[in-house]
């Protein structure tokens, strides 16, 4: 059953990132960092991984002179996350029987 799980979501932080981006139109780097309680480097590497499989999109904008990097879930990412949740739910249902 576990082989149906998305490889991209094997890591907990990646799954959490997708959950946040599924619930919000977009989220910026610092807010994600604070919410998930992870380090800069850790978050950046997981974001890179999700970007690589095209589950998230990156937007860079300027707030004054500072760059503000925000992320949003792609259609592909949203679908994959919904499927992952569904798999979890089905698994729970099956175990109940």
């Amino acid at each position: 059953m576990l082989e149906h799980f998305d490889k991209a979501f094997e890591n907990r932080v990646r799954l959490q990132i997708m959950a946040v981006l599924a619930a919000n139109e977009r989220y910026d780097f610092n807010a994600l960092k604070e919410l998930l309680g992870v380090t800069d480097g850790n978050l950046a590497s997981h974001l890179k991984a999700l970007e690589k499989v095209a589950y998230i999109e990156v937007n860079k904008s300027f707030v004054g002179r500072k760059t503000n990097t925000s992320y949003q879930a792609s259609e592909k990412g949203k679908k994959a996350f919904a499927k992952h949740l569904e798999t979890l739910e089905n698994l729970i249902k099956q175990q109940k029987q």
Binding site: V20, N24, Q95
Partner: protein, 209 residues
Amino acid sequence: MNHEQLQSELLSIRNLMERSAKFISLSGLSGILAGCYALVGAALGYREVYGFASKMGYRDHYVTEEEVLVKLIVIASTVLLLSVGTAIWLSARKARKQGQGIWNPASRGLLKAVGVPLVTGGLFVLVMIVRGTYGLVAPACLIFYGLALVAGGQYTYRDVKGLGVLQIALGLLAACLPGYGIIFWSLGFGVLHILYGFIMYFKYDRRVA
């Protein structure tokens, strides 16, 4: 993964989605205090207008007198500033206890949603005061505040939306019954705030404290 692990995993994901999109540090206690400030303010305002010298039902003064009007505006502004200050202070304290900041995408969304109806209402009320049409000031305060809460409810606890609907209803009722502005104002900004403050305090604050 066993059954419990799966279920707690799913629950933690759903919890995170909720937490990321909603400002959950809004303090119920600040609602109770805001209601108390409003009641004290309303009592002071009532004394300014109706006084204690006359028998029941007869006024000593009218809102149209400039001196009375200035005093009422000062009282209302003080109540507003105290309420907003308390809300920010207590919510920041609650956020710190939850290990979160007060400035995040959810609180920004909340401010943006609340801002439009609130600023519109504030300006509209100012225009009414300047033009000397005082009759609908109290209903307009309640209606626009209610609209702001309904709009902001999306970004915080759902109870806030319910409070907004009640404020709007009270405002419309007040508009139908001229002369009872201060009573409806006290009910909306005083009693309802205290009531909802208590509900939210017991539902959400105590878990954190």
